[in-house]
Symmetry: C2
Subunit: 137 residues, 2 copies
DNA sequence: TAATACTTTAGAATAGTTATAATCTACGCA
DNA sequence: TGCGTAGATTATAACTATTCTAAAGTATTA
């Protein structure tokens, strides 16, 4: 439960009240060793599996948005059917397995830095994302 | 109008009947010199501006899907709010201007080839897409 | 020209997401 | 410790994008 204290701290620091629901979602998202990828739908299922009390869908959306804007998680563009989020907020790229509908991290040492030899006047680069779509052989 | 004959041919070759609606959408998508990027919503607006008769939304969706599956256009993942399509189906990457909500092609000579030093067992790479998000300075 | 298979269409249905307003809860202050 | 208040949660309504349906229309082939 020392984790929970960390989550309370984490939430408080970013100005979010540490409610039961937010702490539970923190546990799920940040309590494991690995980062992970999820859609709202998947998160919602995990919550109802691991929790006795239900968390309303509206709260799940609110919390994901709050965590997004506080930089706890980031959004990944795959396609418009599935809206994915990633608990790994560092710059990194992804494989997308079209058969399993699953994202896989590509670590920095697994890809050469992407070099763009062009600038858009008046604009600055906010992020560079590579998405490698893969499918069964 | 020689263009129209080409569109009729193009449609017929891929097994699509050259209907009035499909030809009109071909004109809009492939009649100009440049390739372009569009959402269903934007295409729908352009159609109603440039056309006297209306084309039903369902037909616009059907046609875009048909053109997608025939390889006339391709889909671009930007975010889940906007579903974008591109008339340039060759492999290339994009800037996404977050202020104007606009895609800009990155040509092959403007980017170093992306090298991924990792393979997923049993999977083959279908596409590699780079999305460079930019915003105002 | 007639038969038929393919298309288009309006509107219904669905899915994902956001808004609303009532109830509840965390937290600062007395 | 208890109160008041701002912030949070909730069920449900509303909204938006997309897909489905089935009826009417059109291109094609014989």
């Amino acid at each position: 439960m020392s984790d929970n204290l960390n989550f309370v701290k984490k939430l408080r620091i970013s100005g979010l009240r540490p409610t039961k629901q937010r702490i539970k979602i923190c546990e799920i998202l940040f309590g494991g060793k690995d980062t992970f990828h999820f859609s709202i739908n998947e998160l919602s299922k995990i919550i109802s599996q691991k929790t006795n009390e239900k968390i309303s869908l509206a709260t799940i959306y609110n919390t994901v948005h709050a965590f997004l804007s506080k930089g706890y998680i980031k959004q990944i563009a795959v396609n418009s059917e599935q809206n994915y989020y990633d608990t790994n907020t560092t710059d990194h790229h992804h494989f997308y397995d079209e058969d399993k509908n699953q994202l896989i991290d590509i670590h920095d040492n697994e890809v050469e830095p992407v070099k763009i030899n062009r600038k858009i006047p008046g604009k600055k680069i906010k992020s560079i994302e590579v998405l490698v779509k893969v499918q069964n052989n």
